[in-house]
């Protein structure tokens, strides 16, 4: 019988981190409100995962276990007083310049021009206004290959609750966006 310690020892964490990094980034994007912090969140989560790998019982896939850490780090990251103060003081932090010389302003321009920019601004605004418990399952549904049972495992809630929260998130989003359209027409 494999003990917990043996189970943890057989994991090559470095290889696992390389393998799951892209997936964890998607989870971080789905769980944070400030997408520019997603890389930092993944990095922090991997550090914590590395330190706490001995606590991994092997009762779920490693990427789900790491995703749980990402979600927790993301929530703490958002709550962090220092982070909030930093945002408040350095408001210009919202502007970023990328390697290719392009800029991200308060809301990034759609490079491909595929979406109605105003509508996308609205989606972002309304999604960010949703409470975490509704926003996270709804956005996680867009993560490649992530199923409802996996979302339930990551958020550590029953599958039925995930479905219910996704429904209410959709409903609330529909109502707020319909409200905007109504106002525009008026």
């Amino acid at each position: 019988m494999k003990t917990v310690a043996v189970r943890a020892e057989v994991i090559d964490f470095e290889a696992a981190a390389r393998e799951h990094r892209a997936f964890l980034l998607q989870i971080a994007v789905a769980s944070t409100r400030n997408v520019t912090d997603a890389e930092d969140i993944v990095q922090e989560a991997l550090m914590r995962g590395y330190r706490g790998i001995k606590g991994f019982r092997g009762d779920c896939p490693l990427r789900i276990w790491l995703s749980r850490i990402v979600v927790r780090v993301s929530i703490n990251h958002h709550r962090s007083l220092a982070r909030r103060l930093k945002r408040w003081v350095f408001f210009a932090d919202l502007e970023a310049v990328y390697e290719d010389g392009s800029q991200q302003e308060f809301d990034p321009a759609d490079p491909a021009g595929a979406f109605d920019h105003e509508a996308m601004l609205d989606v972002r605004k309304h999604v960010n206004r949703l409470p975490d418990e509704f926003r996270m399952p709804l956005v996680m549904l867009a993560v490649d290959g992530l199923t409802i049972p996996e979302i339930a495992a990551i958020l550590e809630i029953p599958e039925g609750t995930v479905k219910s929260r996704i429904f209410y998130a959709r409903k609330r989003l529909k109502e707020t966006m319909a409200g905007r359209k109504g106002r525009n027409k008026a």
Partner: protein
């Protein structure tokens, strides 16, 4: 089974969460397909998913892009550099002239007797070597004799900027006391005679508006039956003054006298009376 709009509205969540029985599911879908209102509601809910997918794709794209520099950080760094430069300039302006010869500075009378037992004298980079050496324990009986002979010492060094806070939490700096004669007494609860002398000085001279008295301490709580203003040290070195020592600052901000509040009390009183 008969399904109407009200039933669909009530069970829409169950329909989306796959909690209906097969029969209910079939009937509900049949109703929705034939009812314009329910169809619109159902389509509006389903239309959220592609929006979220697009939103997520864009957010992911932003997260994947390597960031180089933050303008905000540059602004913040620039502001920090400017603040540091301003602080350095201020320090240079307030520093004594380079030639203000240290030779002329009379070494400070340390309050060896008044020092709190067990309290290690702090070493201060700004202090003269003479001061530092005198803070070390002196072997033999020579030290007490010398201390008894020399009253408070006159010094000619500009007072370093300090920062203290009153009991209400407001900060006070040296700059606020320019143009006044300031008596800074450093006290501790373990030195009742120092506190008593500070109170005597305050009662005798506080009526004169040109004097300001600051009883500075690192301890919390005001001593009983005292009226002199108590200030809490905010980490200022106060030229290395120990508990039991005083500093007399002239109107120009220079330290005119320094010594022990117990041993040199008379000379301090005389000096204050002469002003």
């Amino acid at each position: 089974m008969s399904v109407d709009c009200k039933w669909v509205e009530t069970n829409l969540e169950a329909l989306f969460c796959d909690r209906l029985t097969d029969d209910e599911n079939r009937s509900a879908r049949a109703h929705i397909a034939g009812c314009a209102v329910c169809l619109k509601e159902s389509q509006a809910l389903n239309a959220i998913d592609p929006l979220i997918k697009n939103y997520f794709r864009r957010e992911l794209e932003i997260a994947r892009r390597p960031r180089v520099v933050h303008r905000g950080r540059i602004v913040a760094l620039g502001a920090a550099a400017a603040a540091a430069a301003a602080a350095l300039l201020l320090a240079l302006i307030q520093a004594p002239p380079a030639a203000a010869p240290r030779d002329e500075i009379v070494a400070v009378q340390p309050s060896v007797e008044n020092a709190v037992p067990g309290e290690t004298p702090r070493k201060d980079k700004d202090d003269d070597p003479a001061e530092i050496s005198r803070l070390k324990p002196q072997p033999g009986p020579a030290a007490p004799d010398r201390l008894a002979q020399t009253p408070a010492m006159a010094v000619s060094r500009n007072a370093p900027a300090f920062l203290v806070a009153d009991p209400a939490g407001y900060s006070h700096q040296l700059e606020e006391y320019r143009g006044r004669v300031v008596v800074i007494g450093v006290w501790s609860h373990k030195q009742p005679d120092v506190i008593a002398n500070m109170e005597r000085l305050y009662k005798e001279h506080a009526v004169d508006p040109k004097f300001r008295f600051l009883g500075i301490t690192n301890e919390h709580g005001k001593p009983a039956n005292t009226t002199f203003p108590v200030m809490y040290n905010q980490g200022s070195k106060l030229l290395g003054a120990q508990a039991g020592e005083f500093l007399l600052l002239g109107e120009n901000g220079a330290i005119e006298l320094r010594g022990s509040l117990v041993n040199d009390f008379d000379s301090l009183s005389r000096t204050l009376r002469s002003k």
